[in-house]
Symmetry: C2
Subunit: 144 residues, 2 copies
């Protein structure tokens, strides 16, 4: 049912992407751990850093069940990094929002994502632009 290419070149690229994913993922976890956060907690905190988000929406972003978000936000809240706010428009909804400290932690976490930038320093600006365009084409329109 598929028409995906299976030529050696494509498989080599798939392998390389797998390597990038493995490296990026484990190093993200380590960066989170340096701030005493789990990967899931770091992802949620990063998500909130733009604007307060309903619990349900967080679950959708993380692709997990809403019941899990309760615990993750609980732990962030216990540590004073996040707070729950009522939604003026719908009293069923709770908005998770970062505290000032949470915002600061999120900022430092983003800083320490240096490991993701470092490998790119091996490429010239023109090559980085090329890589950007290839990745965008690969990901298509539905980039979220």
């Amino acid at each position: 049912m598929t028409t995906s290419p299976t030529d050696p070149l494509t498989l080599e690229v798939v392998e390389l992407i797998g390597t990038v994913v493995a490296r990026y993922y484990t190093e993200y976890e380590q960066a989170a751990a340096q701030h005493s956060l789990t990967g899931a907690q770091a992802r949620v905190l990063g998500l909130l850093s733009l604007e307060p988000v309903p619990m349900r929406r967080i679950a959708q972003k993380l692709r997990c069940e809403p019941s899990n978000v309760t615990g993750i936000v609980d732990r962030l809240e216990t540590r004073g990094l996040v707070e729950r706010r009522p939604d003026p428009d719908d009293r069923r909804v709770k908005l998770a929002a970062p505290t000032p400290e949470g915002l600061e932690t999120s900022r430092r976490l983003r800083e320490s994502l240096d490991f993701a930038r470092e490998p790119l320093s091996r490429l010239s600006e023109a090559e980085r632009a090329l890589l950007r365009d290839l990745l965008k084409r690969m990901l298509g329109e539905n980039v979220l």
Copy 2:
């Protein structure tokens, strides 16, 4: 202490890589689930498909503590996908090896990594070659 580039272009590429990682990772988990495997179990099984591997070596590859591998291999063994063998050269070592059924499951799992190939079909062969070279340069020599 860092000289990593922080220009908008670099940050955009970092963002794109993050998107690739998130998509690839969750879809890998889903592919594993279709075979009633967790992500960790699928990774271990894939690791063994080339040759039997000592427990300790599995932990190094997964970047986790050796004690965790015991449980993961236990569950794979219970399902008849993996077996433990003695190492003739060192009686302390146990080699984890796939059963014929485990090998077949590993093969089908690899097949279903189709999702990773599909986005690449949007690129021409020349573009895929370009992407390969950029990724290789980015990852450097230590690609494992």
